[in-house]
Symmetry: D2
Subunit: 375 residues, 4 copies
């Protein structure tokens, strides 16, 4: 979807007033009429000029710092007296303009069509396109953020995920304690949640994830456990070995947790946001919790170094339509839904990426069409 | 949604040519460029006048009979030499106009909103509105068509469904063999699929539905089995006792089947269509197969005796979003999705209808607001 | 699961009486206490000997023909006066023994275990095992019956399914009208349900499946449409070209239907059963209706020419756990559930079968372990 | 399910050795062969006597304190040098006996049955039984713990939940930030996630939950916001007004959060456990995260003051079978699954509880049968 910049010369925008600001009443307490952000490109009028605030995300506020710089900030991080933008209008009439049609394509709304649903298991999955996007990201040194649930590990897609890490397709991994625990359980004991790689429950297996956690605790951290040869393969191993950053955020259902897990949610969000702010692509796999967490922090667009804007590709993989709908219903409208099993997704995506790489190696721009032809 | 009639005085429609017709090449074989119908209000230009064909449905063709009358007909029913409308354009330029914006409300497409999905288990269910619609239908002698899957019976909503039949809320029931089999199994043996009313599997229970079928076979028909006291209560009993028509259509997974089941699908569709053509409302519960079958035959609108048009209320109840999406994806765009358990739906709907009746009894138009207040 | 034959020398079975038979009261009307079959190995005592009736299936009865042969027969096919086995006991005490522990493994019921559910999207999918089974079937000239829903076609797994047909892995294909319609729509127009291969709805696309049907109608049959070059690729094309039998059974939601569709359900079940009776394996993909239909007709075991028995491998692929549970709840307990997207399943299964073939080519029994190593 | 106590006089248990203990190596680091607990009744042999450790839960260890008392403790709470039970055997041979058959009923495993699945939307929901359990709990001053997801609030079951709180059926409410946020949004603005009570998205509605949080922040806490008249009705209001304890635990996807939310997961688990340890019943509604969190902490049984034991009734309500299966797969085997919409569940449950109360009022033991008769 190409970006259509707003027309600031149009009468209504050209004549708009400057945005108004009011002081925060206390730490984390906003002035009544604060402007609540979305993840769409948003422009604020200051001294007669339209400017974009930095670090955009939804469900936050716009703060003007003493130097006159504009920031999008979570309300809990706003300090007493800080200048917070106020207003409800999103059309510029109060000095704030939300560019909601930035990435809108043509739609013939009333037309009678089949298969017009947004997400459906009945729609084909365009692996060639996703492979192309991923290889493009690597080529231009983008920062694809992967966000995964434990299904990825339970279901033996460990090898494929490790391959993506090892081959430079992962900017950062955001996940919970369980992903790391079961990945490490698999490395040490060959099981996940006590289940063998062919899916059978084992006797005494229910305690193996606790034993895995205990070993990492003994070592002090995941990196040290890798170093000491306790963890010998898998996703966490690859991340450590290839210096790819990961964030493990805690949850109320955690066992352990592992020493690397950030157990305070405020601290954990702050660390996650360092990665979402840099993200140029997001791949959300088999997790409602972390997908929505990431969606909340993620702008719907990415600004290239040269200032051009494009929609931030956001792929959400889940085995039911519900998670994708839920994510979109919470504002991550740009999410593109893929309804399938996480293990199978990873296996085929890797296959297509390998084909794409093969195709590009052959020379030049022909990559994608060649990969497509190979289907 | 109120109906906005097309503006036939607008230049493009006013200047449109008459529709063209070509002969069917053989029985059930159409001329190449046949016009394929949707369920939207459709107008055909004949002798300079825009007319609506009779018995509208999707996936069919428009036939002009020797008397000049226009009919929507399934292709399999078209005979060699019949005059079939041809053309691909739906905007009137070839003499056929599909009024796709007939029931469109206002939409601000690009706006950032939460909860904008079409169907979600997270949306509240407006039972008061549905109760109001049903009582209205009864008051004006409408023809609500109920289409149900066996979950309705397995899950003990038999009493509630029987109540709706007995109290005049059912124009016709369209279902498959299984609904009747398990309803009758429940009447004779107290089980459904061999499961007790508290949900436990019983020993030897797997054969009980076969014994129920055998008893009805011995009697000759469902009506005779009711007459002979073999079937003493339940949905089929109520339908027979209250002379409410039902259509049982066969399927490839049927046991038996019961003597009343129409096993040939062509014949069964013809009988079903007699009811969908009369329908003023549709309630589709816990069945993908029959819901889609009905959706295929159903116009998206209903024309009142006085010529006014309104959208045909189509309620689709299922325990996942998928069935509703699937139904919409196959063209039944007017379907309103309710994501819940069939048993619970029936129980609460009955409760609200009882409240609505109570409210109206109290006098005049206050019904709905009173029922609403009772919530 | 290996087969444990019943111990007919045990006191209770050795001393069991002969089974009793009574005459059917009318065509399709059974004597009251008829014995209702399951899909488990079942033995009937006649003249002091335990014998297995032919053509076993569930929800049917056991008939002794005038020559003394025992048959399992659907009740609708029983004629007045035929001798039908009666009795409720399944433990042999009335001369009929259902060998319910034939394929039971060891279970430690009370033990505390994780991941003990029967079907879950969280369990790994053992593609290597399935590939191995399929190649074994081909090697020993087995008869794998494939049963598929239209998701297989919508989702672009057409190539993979065609490959399995072309390479000898399909004994017969059992499906509905929609599978063939959309496969042919894809061949002629490049769309399925009017959707492109990348998943977008097209303008006017809603009529394309009707145009595809019309073309086949004009040709007279699918085979003739292939012959005349109307259908140029895809599943139906492969079936015709490789003389693999297919059965298309009608349903109440069918458009058209295609000329090859058997619209009467009784007739359709009879034709399907010719294939389920020969089946040595069953692969059920993305269809509740046809999966349950097939499960109803399928014995849970297969008898090799040398008399040895084994469980009939029954793989059920669906994107939710519900369909597999539903299938098992209707008696097809031997079904092994795979929870994934049909397109992805087909793609990876083919990949593993190719690896397995490669591995076996290399020499001898090493196939599977080599394929496994390649993971 | 009645409790069968273990037979400690049986040879194998009578001759068992005392359990062995080893020192924890560091804070939170266990000795290698630690015994990992389940939620089943577990007996430890000390000085030749079998004793039950206190505060049982799964995924934890057994610690003997200096006074000789036995405790079940999360590994993170174990301090260096504490005495931790070691061993893998659960059959008593190493001095620890897990009574896995404590609540097992009779099962005829191999029998051919329909509807033998553990959880299915096709099974009837026994509201009368649940109502009976709840009223019993209230009568005997039990401690039913309710654990809910935000669907309860989105879907307008607020009134019903408030009723249960107000009428003494709630021992404690365990939930996340979102439940409270949307409940309070509903009280202040009449929307949930910006959606009206009939399910429509509203303009500007996406910011309303942020405005609700800001108001509570201004007040200082939920209780103070109730006191100051900011929150006027709903679930949180009822909890405050009736002094029913609640625990709001944070998650990585939280907006805000509200001042009452415990953002550190370790601290949050400790507070939650104070309630699960007292629990005599658990009702888990529309939440995978919190249901699994609670399941992890909850023993599968409850010991009455008089020492008798019974299974802890654990009801898990969700709109798909998956969540219940997932919960069971993580060891909460005692969970009884109800597959329906949270709003409808609450409405009917309340109705049945009202009938049960009505029935008991009438006098004596007749309550339940009368409520059942009213169905």
């Amino acid at each position: 979807m190409t970006f259509s910049p707003p027309d600031f010369t149009a009468a209504d925008l050209a004549g708009a007033p400057d945005a108004r600001f009011q002081s925060a009443l206390a730490d984390g307490v906003l002035p009544e009429g604060f402007f609540s952000t979305s993840n769409l490109p948003t422009y604020v009028r200051l001294d007669g000029k339209w400017r974009m605030p930095r670090e955009p995300r939804m469900d936050a506020v716009i703060v003007r710092d003493p130097a006159g710089e504009l920031w999008v900030k979570e309300s809990r991080r706003v300090k007493k007296g800080e200048q917070v933008a106020v207003g409800f209008a999103e059309d510029g009439t109060e000095g704030i303009f939300v560019h909601s049609s930035a990435f809108l394509g043509d739609e013939n709304e009333g037309e009678f069509k089949f298969m017009s649903s947004e997400v459906s298991r009945e729609k084909p999955i365009d692996y060639a396109l996703m492979a192309n996007l991923l290889v493009d990201e690597r080529d231009r040194a983008g920062y694809p953020v992967w966000v995964t649930g434990p299904a990825l590990v339970h279901s033996r897609a460990r090898n494929d995920m490790s391959w993506f890490v090892a081959n430079g397709f992962v900017g950062a991994l955001l996940a919970g304690n369980a992903v790391a625990v079961h990945d490490i359980e698999a490395s040490i004991f060959g099981t996940t949640l006590g289940m063998t790689h062919t899916g059978e429950a084992t006797q005494g297996g229910h305690g193996l994830h606790m034993r895995a956690i205990n070993k990492v605790r003994g070592a002090g951290s995941i990196a040290k456990a890798v170093e000491q040869g306790i963890i010998k393969d898998g996703i966490m191993y690859s991340l450590v070995k290839h210096n790819v950053p990961f964030v493990l955020t805690g949850s109320i259902r955690d066992d352990g947790p592992l020493p690397d897990v950030i157990t305070d949610m405020i601290a954990a969000q702050d660390v996650m946001k360092q990665h979402t702010t840099r993200a140029t692509m997001a791949i959300l796999i088999a997790t409602a919790l972390h997908a929505i967490a990431t969606g909340n922090m993620l702008p719907a667009f990415v600004q290239s170094p040269d200032g051009t804007m494009r929609e931030l590709p956001t792929i959400c993989v889940d085995s039911s339509e519900f998670v994708v709908s839920k994510l979109k219903d919470r504002g991550t409208h740009q999410a593109f839904g893929v309804v399938t099993n996480a293990q199978d997704f990873m296996h085929i995506l890797r296959l297509y990426v390998e084909r794409e790489l093969e195709g590009r190696k052959g020379g030049g721009a022909g990559g994608r069409s060649r990969a497509a032809a190979a289907r």
